[in-house]
Amino acid sequence: MNTPLLFTRAALCAALAFGPAPLLAQAYDPMRPAGNPLTPAMPGPDAGAPAVELDPELGNLPVGPGAEDTYYQCIACHSTAIIRQQRLTDARWDYLWTWMVEDQGMYEPDEETKEVILTYLKTHFSSER
């Protein structure tokens, strides 16, 4: 139940349904998005970043400081699926926060909580680190 999960596209976005599996070679996917955490881990030396432990209690957000605050802040409006797809610059995360408060009616928590959440997002869903 609390088995650590690999951060794979399967965990994020399972296919809605599965037809009969076509006979496909385990081919390289030429349309594999670069650096996208949704991408299935490639076998071999190109397996990518170390696996991140996900918290099933918190919508499969990566385990870490701020995960709980982030979960409860965000799911008021949307699921964690959209968070888990992102890999943004710090500046974009700051902008998105303001956009969600000013345009989308997000409840703004105290400054300390805001910092915890933004730090968490910038740590786990970043194009900078």
Binding site: F18, Q104, G105
Partner: protein, 421 residues
Amino acid sequence: MADKASENDVNTTDTISEPGRRAFLTTTGLTAVGAYAGMSIPFGDNLKALAQGMSESDIMAGKEGLILMNDRPLNAETPAHLLDDDVTPYEHFFVRNNGMVPDTALDMDAEGWTLTIDGEVDTPLELSLADLKEKFEVITQRLVLECGGNGRAFFTPGASGNQWTTGAVGCADWTGVRLSDVLNAAGIKDSAVYTAHYSNDPHLSGDPEKEAISRGAPIEKALAEGSMIAWEMNGAPIPAVHGFPLRVIIPGYPGSASQKFLTRIWIRDQEHDGAKMTGYSYRLPAYPVAPGTEVPEEDMVVMTEMPVKSLITHPQSGTQTPSGEATEVRGHAWAGSGDIDAVDVSIDFGATWTPAKLEPAKNKFAWQRFRADVTLPEAGYYEVWARATDKNGVAQPPVVPGWNPRGYGNNMQHRIAMIAT
């Protein structure tokens, strides 16, 4: 069918249990679609106690093989090989919602539905569905709808939003009336500049004062060939997730211009500034920027015409084929500018190109079928690339074009792997 397949197979993807999610089911509208997203929650347990009368899993039950990007709001894309039909059937049509699916759509209840046309018009109109069907010529057009962010996943650094790869596109037969006929019946004033579209889909926050989305189009585009108000998709009432009972379609523009659940078209004397018209939403930098640039908001301009594009829909990427024998490769090509001039394919990473056979469009803004026989000379790994060129001589680039903060308009050439045996 999708239900069954999911029940049987979803747990093979992984086995996530999400008790926290259950606790929120009654209060947040999080629903059984979680089962599709790889959760081990027994499917039947979640069909009740939902914020809306119907669960997203019910809504998505008729969708087959789509990749779920987000369960609230609902967003799902279609793998390329499931887009092979000339007319995309409902089960393979991508889903992009900005807000919640309204109850009227979930219940398929169009009782008393009206469409208001007002603003810069001589005579404001309030039209029932019967009015639309009786007062105007009814037409059916085959039109591509594509999310402006299709291909976003390939931008580096990343752009915020759903990480669509290639499948936020579909081409259906839409039945309804010309938007120009309806607007001209109201009488468009010289002061008209832009349309503003409104609908009844609830904002994600639940705030009834907020619009989930309200976009529009320049009045010239709204009055041009192709733009329409539709109530049928592929010969049936438009399904809930696609905008029941009425949607506007602005073909060749980002899909978000084609408002679902349409209740009002306000003709404005300025560019519309509704939800997701401003800021960075569906906007591009006014000038070329380096990847990762923080572009000031005032330098962002509304995205209009979608770029020329093609998709290889057969065979599926990774398919094995005998070397030295011809294999048919086929797909579709389309462009926001209208018809396609040519599609070429390459089996040598773009070093040489061969013209594909291109079928004419059924009507403007329908996608066009291309076919090419490729012969892979010897055993090994090949890629097949496709490149469409529009009537202006503009072709798809081999790499991700102009980075922009929200990742719109990526029309790089589609590539599949083929293994010669």
